[in-house]
């Protein structure tokens, strides 16, 4: 199950941190490191549970957060040795560098949103390809090709495929057989019952098609939500067992 697709929805550790800061409504300039670190690690953990590829950048950030956290926990009594005024001026907050990066990143994330808006406004207008002007070329010029580079050709290829994709949906969506989630939920319950109410998580994904995997996964989430099943896992990375709950 490799859903390293955009499933996680985050563009990297900074994006995830911004999300946490927003969710917990904390001040970006005064981040409660302990809480944020804990939440951050929980996300990483969840991603691993989902067998998502956790990019190394996320782990580097986790280490950074832990380092900041420990620096902030340094025994206070040492500080008493210094003049209080001095300390305020001299000592650097271990969070400073991280805050600087977050604020910087946030600016561009915001700019990206603005571009997105412009892009969608732009998508409401249509144009046409330049007309074929070859009939207007003089005979002796016909053999010549100027102002065309490899790059133009690559662009053209790109365009061909874009157009092909744009044309495609009308032809393919009809033939896809959709499995309703409710149906899959029933199937999962029945298959659990048939083996005494307990099954390995991975055994539910035997049919390899992508849609089947997606629907099965969502059906499991839904079954957990309505408390029809329970999931347990003894250790990190060990097999997850699905158990039927009393109805």
């Amino acid at each position: 199950m490799q859903y390293s697709v955009k499933l996680d929805g985050f563009e990297g550790p900074l994006d995830l941190l911004l999300h946490l800061i927003q969710t917990y409504e904390v001040d970006i300039y005064d981040i409660p490191v302990a809480i944020i670190t804990e939440q951050y690690l929980q996300y990483i953990h969840t991603m691993k549970e989902l067998k998502l590829d956790v990019a190394s950048e996320y782990l580097v950030m986790a280490a950074t957060l832990l380092a900041i956290k420990s620096k902030m926990l340094l025994p206070k009594h040492e500080e008493e040795l210094f003049d209080h005024q001095m300390e305020l001026e001299m000592e650097e907050d271990p969070r400073d560098e991280l805050v600087r990066r977050l604020v910087e990143y946030r600016k561009y994330k915001h700019a990206a949103d603005e571009l997105k808006e412009r892009e969608s406004a732009r998508s409401l207008i249509y144009t046409r390809q330049p007309a074929d002007l070859s009939p207007f070329e003089k005979e002796e010029k016909e053999k010549q090709v100027t102002n065309v580079t490899l790059y133009d050709m690559l662009q053209a290829m790109q365009r061909v495929f874009q157009e092909k994709v744009a044309r495609a949906p009308k032809q393919t969506t009809i033939e896809r057989q959709e499995i309703p989630i409710e149906t899959r939920m029933e199937q999962i319950k029945n298959s659990l019952l048939s083996v005494g109410g307990r099954k390995k998580f991975t055994e539910l994904f035997e049919k390899g098609t992508k849609e089947h995997v997606v629907v099965t996964f969502l059906a499991i989430l839904e079954l957990m939500k309505v408390k029809s099943i329970n999931c347990e896992q003894k250790d990190h990375f060990s097999e997850i067992y699905i158990t039927m709950l009393e109805e």
Partner: protein
């Protein structure tokens, strides 16, 4: 729908459909009106383009309507072709050339399958410019002509051999990945809706 809007959309449709043209049935479908209702609008539009201060006119070939430039302005388009900065290959020709370069040997109908449109004219242009040529015949019935690029093609793009063509961008495959992600989220949202009921 207002009369003015119908007129405007017909003009816009003629414009976006470019050199391919658009037939009356399609226009009627887009506007969700009866084909017969179109006539007065098209006549009016045709007439307005006949004025001497207009640059295009509307022609109808084999049931397909399209904008074309006026013959009396030909001299200006000839000049345009010669202005520096004007690319000498049309977009259609470039696309066709790209497909041939990456997928040769290839038949015309295979090219048309990828592009989704007729490709006779661009192929003629490319042959005339010596960039592509016939390299053989396909097996099977019809024995269609197979096209490939020429030595002049390599020279023009400064390539030693076809192996030096830049690799095709990965995101051509990416598009299908995005569709899968979409499938995931649409399923997921579907499940949320179910839950709300």
């Amino acid at each position: 729908m207002e009369r003015n809007e119908i007129k405007a959309v017909i003009e816009g449709l003629l414009f976006v459909s470019g050199d391919e043209g658009i037939d009356r049935k399609q226009i009627a479908q887009v506007l969700e009106i009866d084909v017969k209702e179109l006539d007065p609008f098209i006549d009016e539009l045709k007439k307005s383009y006949e004025a001497s201060d207009r640059g295009m006119s509307i022609v109808e070939y084999a049931g397909s309507l399209q904008f074309v430039t006026k013959p009396e302005h030909a001299v200006f388009y000839e000049r345009l072709v010669e202005t520096p900065g004007h690319s000498t290959l049309s977009q259609a020709a470039l696309e066709t050339l790209a497909i041939i370069a990456y997928k040769q040997p290839i038949t015309r109908s295979e090219i048309e399958e990828v592009r989704g449109v007729k490709t006779e004219k661009p192929l003629q242009t490319l042959s005339a410019k010596g960039l592509v040529k016939e390299v053989g015949r396909a097996e099977g019935t019809g024995r269609a002509i197979l096209y490939g690029t020429t030595k002049a093609f390599l020279e023009h793009f400064g390539l030693q051999s076809l192996k030096e063509l830049p690799p095709l961008p990965e995101n051509i495959q990416e598009e299908s990945v995005e569709q899968e992600a979409d499938l995931f989220f649409s399923k997921f949202q579907e499940s949320l809706t179910v839950e709300d009921q």
